[in-house]
Amino acid sequence: GAGVSQSPSNKVTEKGKDVELRCDPISGHTALYWYRQSLGQGLEFLIYFQGNSAPDKSGLPSDRFSAERTGGSVSTLTIQRTQQEDSAVYLCASSLRGASYNEQFFGPGTRLTVL
């Protein structure tokens, strides 16, 4: 079946603009994660959706970042008033229920460049 897809694959924006990044998880996966990976760095947790529970937003670096998940499926990560330090690859992952027993399947990522 289809894997996790993300769009756009690349996004170049100017400082101060808002951007929206989209993630389509694997069908039937109730858990969805957003991570940020700066050049040569590890995976920085941003936000986690699990079923109908309130999302864990503890990793969002500032109030410029927000995410929603509609209908338990597609998720959108929004960055308002982008800054140059927001430049990174944003990865989305999904898993069947929570990750304790189930591997995360990662999408190809969106490379964001803020000029």
Partner: protein, 113 residues
């Protein structure tokens, strides 16, 4: 809190073995291992659960010391395809989010012919 991986980088020749370690200051429920090749998304390797259960690829082996909050990934008879960055992700016991992983900074493994 982010787990600490060691070493940060390792260089091998084909056929050699390597061990990558992951250590946390928190009590853990599970440890996950992923490999990421340059320009690609991370790919699942192994899950180790408190209590001894494991799930993963046949050719990958790992251990989880629950008392020490440490996990090790064992790569034996390395192949060129093993090259990449290895990440451990830890799930805290009694954490605020069931299923949430915190990833280490990664270990870069390079295998030469």
């Amino acid at each position: 809190q982010q787990p600490v991986q060691s070493p940060q980088a390792v260089i091998l020749r084909e056929g050699e073995d390597a061990v990558i370690n992951c250590s946390s200051s928190k009590a853990l429920y599970s440890v996950h291992w992923y490999r990421q090749k340059h320009g690609e998304a991370p790919v699942f390797l192994m899950i180790l659960l408190k209590g001894g259960e494991q799930k993963g690829h046949e050719k990958i082996s790992a251990s989880f010391n629950e008392k020490k909050q440490q996990s090790s990934l064992y790569l034996t008879a390395s192949q060129l395809s093993y090259s990449g960055t290895y990440f451990c992700g830890t799930e805290e016991l009694g954490g605020t989010s069931y299923g949430k992983l915190t990833f280490g900074q990664g270990t870069i493994l390079t295998v030469h012919p």
